[in-house]
């Protein structure tokens, strides 16, 4: 048993010209969330409780794209989604299409704990939220001025409909430049998703991921974040949370893949993460964080950057973007 370990992320695909003060703000938030998680781990909270706690904090802060601060749909509102998974029995819960639930990750946890199902979406999920008495706020609460501005710019920038993944004659080489994410200029791209993975001192892994999704997304679009095996996965071996181009992550069943190559190919955690980023994304861009049951932590990405932080019981701690 290698002790506890934790990693957090605030999305992959960062504008290389992001102003320094914005970089500092992001690092401060990541550090604060790590500290929160570390404190909870030292107080012997279970991995599943810690990932929920940390992701709630990330959702509540407007800086990243989840909960308050979620990217806006084509109609200018938010549709949030999240999932959570507990390694020991592979129990899991997921939600999509939330418009009033303050902390989507906690509703995902309730789906796991209090419903016979694994995944609830849209009005059914909102109804379940009310039955469970979770905190509800108006949709305006989630909308920041900055995201209103970004949506306008995204719409001007020709929207995701001319995305390079749409097979059509409108595809041109120019949309495949390195400084694009999901078909948008990187300066307009709101890194999708926040996430946290934890292994506690008893070797239990857990993972949680939450997002507002893709800026200017079509109403009803579901990305990788709520999908068990794609955006989130945890089992006896490891816990994984992914971020980036959702469709590439789904196609690669990226989170499960890290566990699968560890289980079936015998790779170590960092090897598995590297393999998955290099071999399983095709042309997509994404990043992920992972912990193993013996207390290792790893991250990997093929994007310009990923907001991330990690710490282990033996005193290692790191917060980085590039």
């Amino acid at each position: 048993m290698g002790g506890w370990a934790i990693a957090v992320h605030g999305g992959a695909g960062v504008d290389p010209n992001l102003p320094l003060h914005r970089q500092e703000d992001a690092k401060k938030l990541l550090t604060r969330c790590l500290d929160l998680g570390i404190h909870a781990l030292r107080s012997n909270h279970s991995a599943i409780d810690v990932v929920e706690l940390v992701v709630r904090e990330l959702e509540t802060d407007p800086l990243f794209n989840s909960g308050r601060g979620s990217a806006l749909t084509e109609e200018g509102n938010v549709e949030m989604e999240a999932s959570i998974m507990d390694g020991p029995k592979r129990r899991c819960g997921a939600v999509s299409g939330l418009t009033t639930v303050k902390n989507p990750v906690s509703l995902a946890r309730l789906v796991m704990d209090k419903s016979p199902h694994s995944y609830l979406a849209f009005s059914g999920a909102e109804k379940f939220a009310r039955q469970q008495g979770v905190e509800i706020v108006s949709n305006d609460y989630f909308i920041t001025q900055e995201n209103v501005g970004l949506l306008e710019l995204a719409k001007e920038a020709n929207s995701i409909w001319l995305d390079h993944r749409v097979p059509s004659e409108t595809c041109s080489a120019s949309v495949e430049t390195p400084l694009q994410m999901n078909g948008l200029p990187i300066s307009l791209y709101a890194p999708e998703t926040v996430g946290c993975v934890v292994v506690d001192s008893e070797g239990r892994c857990a993972a949680a991921t939450s997002t507002g999704g893709l800026i200017n997304k079509k109403i009803g679009r579901i990305g990788d974040s709520p999908l068990i095996g794609s955006g989130t996965y945890a089992c006896d071996v490891c816990g994984v949370s992914c971020t980036g181009e959702g469709e590439a992550i789904i196609r690669g069943t990226l989170a499960r893949e890290v566990a699968a190559v560890m289980e079936y190919k015998g790779l170590g955690l960092q090897e598995a993460v590297n393999y998955v980023i290099e071999e399983r994304l095709d042309e997509g861009k994404a990043g992920l964080i992972a912990v193993s049951s013996n207390g290792e932590v790893a991250c990997g990405f093929n994007t310009t950057g990923m907001f991330r932080g990690c710490a282990t019981e033996d005193g290692f701690m790191e917060v980085g973007i590039w």
Partner: protein
């Protein structure tokens, strides 16, 4: 090397005493759908077209739990879902459909006409209207058998998970007959042509008495449906167990990472899910077929280019 096709109409606790009038229409549909698929493969249709075609037929058949004949939510409505994927890992999925006659074809349109993979509920319905696919009044999907089935599930105060969840002892006797008729499940089809091109498609109404908004394994790439350059898989059974086990992807992962054969990989995955929960159909790029299940039975059919063909519900010793 050669073409192969396999399809299913759900796995579960299908009683051996299933009366002929419940059994025959389903067997006939399986036979007819198999012929449609075989014919299409013989006419060199791409596997992606073949699986869509076959699943459309299964959706149109009121005896299976997909499209017309979908089971009802706790509110008596239908909420259908489906997904489709080909060997190049292109994929599309839909959930929460209430008016789309053929959910599988909308999943294909999501794959081909949007930058997204997965659209759900109002957004998916709006997309269906944009694309001009056939829609109809919700009552088209609702059969008297499913109204009755919902009522029984409510009386038993339980969520009937496909038909795999064991009944509580007290209600087992009184609902036995009715349960004999609830042996309908998710539908799916996998196909490979003689160039090794692969595709998979799965479609469902979900489970009886499900909560509004519930999403199962069927639309989830890697859980209910998966295809890559090695194989194509469509799974059925208890959705929550299939999601947890990322069943469809795991068959492919075992072939890819552990070098198992299709049959070994499929058997390994089905054995690793608790008994009574899962069945799947799978084909490999080289034209092998596997149809394992750990439930009492699975409505299934398959055919390969070398002339092998099978239509079955239980294991051979029961048929």
């Amino acid at each position: 090397m050669g073409w192969a096709i396999a399809l299913h109409g759900g796995a579960g606790d299908i009683p051996l005493s299933l009366p002929p009038e419940r059994r025959q229409p389903r067997e006939e549909t399986l036979r007819r759908c198999l012929q449609i698929g075989v014919q299409a493969l013989k006419s060199q249709k791409p596997p992606l077209d073949v699986v869509e075609l076959v699943v459309r037929e299964l959706e149109n058949c009121p005896h299976f739990n997909a499209g017309r004949g979908s089971v009802l939510t706790t509110k008596g409505t239908v909420e259908m879902e489906a997904s489709i994927m080909d060997g190049t890992k292109r994929c599309g999925a839909v959930s929460g459909l209430t008016t789309v006659v053929n959910p599988i074809s909308l999943a294909r349109l999501v794959m081909e006409k949007t930058p997204h993979i997965y659209l759900a509920f109002d957004g998916a319905e709006a997309f269906a209207k944009e694309q001009g696919v056939e829609t109809t009044d919700s009552s088209y999907f609702i059969t008297p058998q499913n109204i009755e089935r919902l009522q029984q599930a409510k009386e038993a105060n339980r969520v009937q998970i496909d038909y795999t969840q064991p009944l509580p002892q007290a209600t087992e006797q009184e609902t036995e007959n009715a349960n004999g008729d609830s042996q309908i499940g998710t539908v799916g089809c996998v196909a490979v042509d003689n160039h090794g091109n692969l595709a998979s498609a799965t479609s469902t109404g979900g489970l009886v008495n499900k909560m509004l908004g519930r999403i199962g394994d069927t639309p989830l790439i890697g859980a209910g449906t998966y295809a890559n350059h090695l194989c194509a898989i469509s799974a059925t059974g208890k959705g929550e167990a299939i999601i947890r086990g990322s069943v469809a992807r795991d068959v492919a992962a075992l072939m890819e990472f552990k070098g198992l054969s299709l049959e070994e990989a499929a058997a390994y995955v089905v054995e690793s899910v608790p008994r009574g929960n899962v069945g799947l159909v799978a084909v490999s790029a080289s034209g092998e077929v596997a149809m394992p299940y750990n439930t009492t039975g699975m409505f299934r059919a398959c055919a390969t280019e070398d002339g092998y063909s099978e239509i079955a519900i239980w294991s051979s010793k029961h048929d």
